[in-house]
Amino acid sequence: MMGSQPERFKSKFRGILDIPREERFVSGHRLCAGCPVGTVMRMLTKVAGKDSIIVNGTGCLEVSSTPYPYTSWMNPWIHVAFENTGAVASGVEAALKVLKAKGVLGKDVKVVAVAGDGGTFDIGLQSLSGMLERGHKVMYVLYDNEAYMNTGIQRSGATPWGAWTTTTPVGKKWKGEWRWKKDIMGIVLAHRVPYAATASPSHPMDMIRKFEKALYYTREGPTFVHVLIPCTTGWRFDPALSIKVARLAVETGIWVLYEVEKGKFRVTHKVRKRKPVREYLKLQGRFRHLTDDDIEYIQKIVDEEVDRINKMAGEEVIGPVEA
């Protein structure tokens, strides 16, 4: 370990045909029509393969994929509660480690934690921080649909400015959410994890390689992948448009695809000309009430964020808004 040259990561997924045919997250689940989290889990489990244990926090995915006596999971899978995904993953990883050391377990088994934005940004933040700080070798996948969708679209720390939710309704005094989304990536990176990335189901190869890389880096410590999951039910759009909405988040610069590998920041999908945020917002009923001034305000904040990203990248990785 010490002194030797680190082995370099090399992806085995060069194209879509390299993705294993074997299904490990199977059909029959009760996710909403058009919900991309099933698609993301399908890709995630293909990358993780057979020798991985999945730890799932309470949420849409957990509820929809395991209505007893059915399950969509071909991997060993455990759900304990809402706020403890990090702790449960830590326990699984510690057990695997000691059982291997004692010769009870003969092979390497990976640990993948999956939780939503409520279970990560809010109620699960403490146990996530504990897991990251202690350096458990776990890949943590955050599927972020920007509100408590499972309980009926209540705002979370991940809900963006202006969004209607059932607890930030649009009325005479309130006009949807009035706070900005918590910087969860900043919080995770403050734990100096070896690898963290953002991903989107609209860019599957980018996402798959990030899952692969995040799993690879679990040899050094905890890793984190933050996936944006457009929610047809909570964001109020046509179920046929989930991937399009996800793509527009990337193309408008609202959702920047990047990774931080051993402290090195890199935008993995460059956007030469940005689309105006209006194109992303107008497809979603949760932003229906926004005025032109509101949209202009969001555009201004996104522009500032893009500036910050470009400064971190040292070049213009995300271009200006197209005329």
Binding site: V88, L96, S129, G130
Partner: protein, 398 residues
């Protein structure tokens, strides 16, 4: 005079906390996950020392809360490891959500509780409010009354918990400070004997890629009830298995306790029911009380969940009165001592005919001295022919 199979060893001075840690070491526990809380902390300090010295090969997870401590221990046991945690008071209260999940998932796990009062006002001192708050969480619960019994019961607890016919988590509870921080002679049996008595039996439905299971599913109204009823059946099984575990322990090591103990019951006309250190103190004063003519026995509740009704009925059959000493308060309940309420229900259920007296004492470790215990014995004697319908709050300033 050593009983058959007794392990001859010199006793070592240990606090109950140290005795628990020694049992964890002898049982070759694989994963320990705990968070500091007084008066439990020296249990995990001692375990950390064992791991640091290479005397125990285990992973210690330095979690950031008790909620995570129990979550991680559960997960480790679900992965096939032998897991342990320890807590008290606010820590046990913070674990409350997960207590029910461990028993609901039927994951075998052992946890020691150095019992302590609950906030507010904050009190680090001993009573049983924490434990009684957790009694309906589906765990097997033991009260122990000496450091030796704590060591022995941790061994028994793993044997019961990991039994494929039981698969329930077990709590081993003792008085904080009064026991956790006082030193007694303890005989340990060593790893070989401990593992021969309680061999590791990993969770049969563990998280295993070669035999994948989905654990912790959603159960609708058409299934949930059956899951819970299976816990009812497992509890009944746990009673049998706990009796068997204690008999086998006595056969091997010469120390047996029974699931319930009756001390100086032969010819006793009245009984005092007590747990943990109060039982120990009563054992010390009863001989003198008998000399003074008070034929009062001690009924020591050891296994609390499942409640040993058969033993209780047998031991109380000749008693005219029973004083139940509670160390916590069930505010506003018919009897405000929760154990007294349960005894009242057993009385009705089994048609028993003694005068029941409910006494609450030692709340927040309010001082109970020899004279106070003697007063309880005299109360039991008095109650043979007198009724006390209301809960007596012994030692409080009104």
């Amino acid at each position: 005079m050593a009983a058959r199979g007794e392990v001859r060893a010199r006793p070592k001075p240990m606090s109950t906390n140290s005795a628990v840690a020694a049992a964890v070491k002898d049982l070759d526990v694989d994963v320990v996950s705990a968070y500091p809380i007084t008066p439990q902390t020296t249990v995990v300090e001692k375990i950390a020392e064992y791991i640091a010295n290479g005397e125990l090969e285990a992973e210690m997870i330095h979690v950031e809360s008790e909620h995570s401590a129990l979550s991680a221990a559960l997960a480790a046991a679900a992965t096939g490891a032998r897991a342990f945690t320890a807590t008290a008071s606010q820590g046990l209260a913070l674990m409350h959500e997960i207590l029910h999940i461990v028993s609901g998932l039927r994951v075998p796990l052992v946890m020691s509780i150095a019992m302590r009062a609950l906030s507010a006002p904050i009190s680090i001192w001993n009573d049983h409010s924490d434990l009684m708050n957790a009694r309906d969480s589906g765990w097997v619960i033991y009260f122990v009354h000496t450091a030796q019994e704590a060591y022995d019961t941790i061994l028994q607890a793993y044997r019961v918990a990991e039994d494929p016919e039981v698969l329930l988590p077990v709590m081993v509870a003792y008085d904080g400070f009064v026991m956790s921080h006082t030193v007694e002679p303890v005989v340990t049996v060593g790893r070989e004997n401990a593992l021969s008595y309680a061999p590791k039996r990993p969770f049969p439905y563990k998280l295993d890629p070669d035999n994948p299971v989905t654990m912790g599913t959603l159960a609708g109204p058409e299934w949930y009830y059956e899951f819970k009823y299976q816990q009812v059946q497992a509890m009944a099984k746990a009673l049998e298995k706990a009796r068997e575990a204690d008999r086998e322990f006595e056969r091997r090591f010469g120390r047996g306790y029974g699931v319930m103990e009756c001390f100086m019951c032969e010819g006793a006309e009245a009984l005092v029911m007590a747990t943990s250190s109060y039982a120990t103190t009563l054992k010390a004063i009863l001989p003198e009380m008998w000399r003074q003519g008070f034929k009062v026995g001690l009924l020591r509740l050891r296994l609390y969940r499942p409640f040993p009704i058969r033993e209780f009925t047998e031991y109380t059959s000749n008693a005219s009165s029973l004083v139940v000493v509670d160390r916590s308060i069930s505010f506003g309940a018919p009897y405000q001592g929760p154990l007294a309420s349960e005894v009242a229900s057993v009385k009705v259920k089994e048609g028993l005919d003694f005068n029941l007296v409910s006494v609450v004492a030692g709340i927040g470790q309010r001082k109970m001295e020899e004279e106070d215990f003697k007063a309880l014995v005299r109360l039991a004697w008095e109650a043979r022919s007198r009724k006390y319908p209301e809960t007596i709050f012994y030692g409080v300033r009104e």
